[in-house]
Symmetry: C2
């Protein structure tokens, strides 16, 4: 019998989540039944989208039920297996995060099935960041959803964040002019100094439309949207003809603040824009190509991913709240085993 | 020397246009210079998009200058020509409407160049409606922009209007379930009884989201948007996964009322929707295919287009204002020669 802790949602947040919305519980696990794999999670990912799924109603994945455990990307080591192809000691990325032990059923159809991680010389947690679902979201959004073309000028919001930092760097490494937004002066400096963006602005400094025009007066062709709301409206306003928006998330709306609705839809007509939402699970056929292209960039250090790490599952809620409030840089992670 | 009247914009409307925003002026024309063609307009089209171009700022075509003539689709007869391929008596569709005589320069590059009309047994004004830019907008929006697929359920706003009525009928004739919205009970009955829509609602009866759910509880796959605003937000809310919106116009915003902004952009992500604006000038390679497919439908009467006709250029502004207010059914036209 194995025992591990997990985080449960005990109340739906109203606005910003508070630690009282979460609770820690202990779960007992038997030996895996046929087809099951028991994994000890080593790292888990903190993703803004989890906040959306804490609301009632449709989201990009099923909403969490009050009283149930949360989930998200994690990487761990198989400690017991009754499933062919999974052996103790294997390293596996999967979606059963927010817990110390995860009971997987790899044979059951899933939109994001568990995947083996091959030892490849990068830190294990990179498989949750630049080489994981995070980096893959940047890759899919840019190259498939926005169909990045030579000469496109790219704008990325939440550009110091996990997905945005990869999207911006992948654009820049391909020779695109790329500008970004973030929520502090330190992040703005990081984006330009460490991530190679051509320019960046602090969206708290003034109307996004004005700031975007200031740093990129010639307009943009592609917007990688992690934010929604005022950012999305401003990007539409700055778009050149035939521009494209890849909608990856809209964190500005997750807390229920939809006061800043999009009002310039006519420009979508007049400039023949395309706005397209995507989920990575629809694009797994691109996974091998993604790894092939991005792994060398991570290994060589050309693609940088900062990490904000806390230790211990019990600290995940506070770290998650801090990330949503803009208090972290790069990929937010919880290390579950010291 | 030839003489003809034209309509000019004398003041930018604030909100709903009034007749005082327009003025009638007389223009003298010399014999056509080399490359020019003088056309006596017989019919002109009244299009909602002209309202957008009366505002200052970016639109789907250049804004009109105060003091300058308006323009739009028209069909007329060549009365003098110094341009190869154009002979007196030829019937020509072109973009120099809102005037009685039009001086064309067919050799000058244009996004929508003048086109000969072949006598084909349909009323001449049909080349401004179902067989003109109007019908072509419906065709492009459905089959190219929204990429209509077998089994798609289609929603069309302004469904009793010129473009919407064609979009809905083309969907229905291909076997799609199609629902529409309009602004009066009479229009709703017309859509269902005469145009073959499966269902329709009066958007003045209640929140669009509720009305749309009432007539189409299973959701929609394609939305042909002529309206923007609340309609667009409601359509996004009703979309099934991988739904598509063709944005053709957003008449609800042209008068400056953008109070009802779009606030559910996260559903564009979670349902992987595509919103795409289009202008017909980008798709002229589809013109022959469009005529080939739609001409028989018009000639056989399978595709119906009601017309709201006024006589005389001097009555164009009032008719235009009435159309914007929802006072017309089908294609709004001005007959310039009795």
């Amino acid at each position: 019998v194995f025992s591990g802790r997990e985080i449960r949602l005990v109340a739906r947040p109203r606005g910003n989540p508070v630690t009282e919305d979460f609770a820690l519980a202990v779960v007992q696990y038997d030996e895996p039944a046929p087809g099951q794999v028991l994994v000890r999670n080593l790292w888990m990912s903190l993703d803004p989208g989890v906040r959306a799924r804490m609301n009632h109603g449709p989201s990009y994945a099923p909403s969490f039920n009050v009283g149930s455990s949360l989930d998200g990307s994690a990487v761990g080591e198989v400690i017991a297996s009754a499933c062919e192809g999974f052996l103790p000691g294997d390293l596996v990325v999967h979606r059963a995060g927010w817990r110390e032990l995860a009971l997987l059923q790899p044979g059951v159809a899933s939109s994001l099935p568990p995947r083996h991680v091959r030892p490849d010389g990068v830190p294990l947690q990179a498989h949750l960041g630049a080489l994981g679902h995070t980096g893959f979201a940047a890759y899919v959004g840019l190259f498939e959803t926005a169909a990045l073309r030579p000469g496109d000028v790219v704008f990325v919001s939440a550009a110091a964040g996990a997905v945005g930092s990869v999207a911006g760097q992948l654009s820049g490494l391909r020779g695109h002019k790329v500008v970004g937004s973030a929520g502090s002066e330190a992040k703005v400096r990081h984006i330009v100094d460490n991530l190679g963006f051509d320019a960046a602005f602090n969206y708290r400094d003034g109307p996004v439309a004005e700031e975007l025009h200031r740093v990129c007066p010639g307009g943009i062709d592609v917007y990688f949207d992690n934010v929604g709301g005022e950012h999305l409206e401003s990007a539409i306003g700055a778009m050149r003809d035939h521009g494209r928006v890849a909608l990856c998330g809209s964190v500005s709306t997750y807390n229920g603040d939809t006061s800043k609705g999009l009002r310039n839809e006519f420009q979508v007509v007049s400039k023949r824009l395309t706005l397209r939402g995507f989920l990575i699970a629809d694009h797994l056929h691109m996974w091998d190509r993604f790894l092939e292209e991005v792994t060398p960039l991570v290994m060589s250090g050309q693609l940088v991913q900062r990490e904000s790490v806390v230790d211990g599952l019990e600290n995940a809620p506070a770290a998650f709240i801090s990330m949503l409030a803009g208090g972290t840089l790069g990929k937010s992670l919880v290390r579950l085993v010291p």
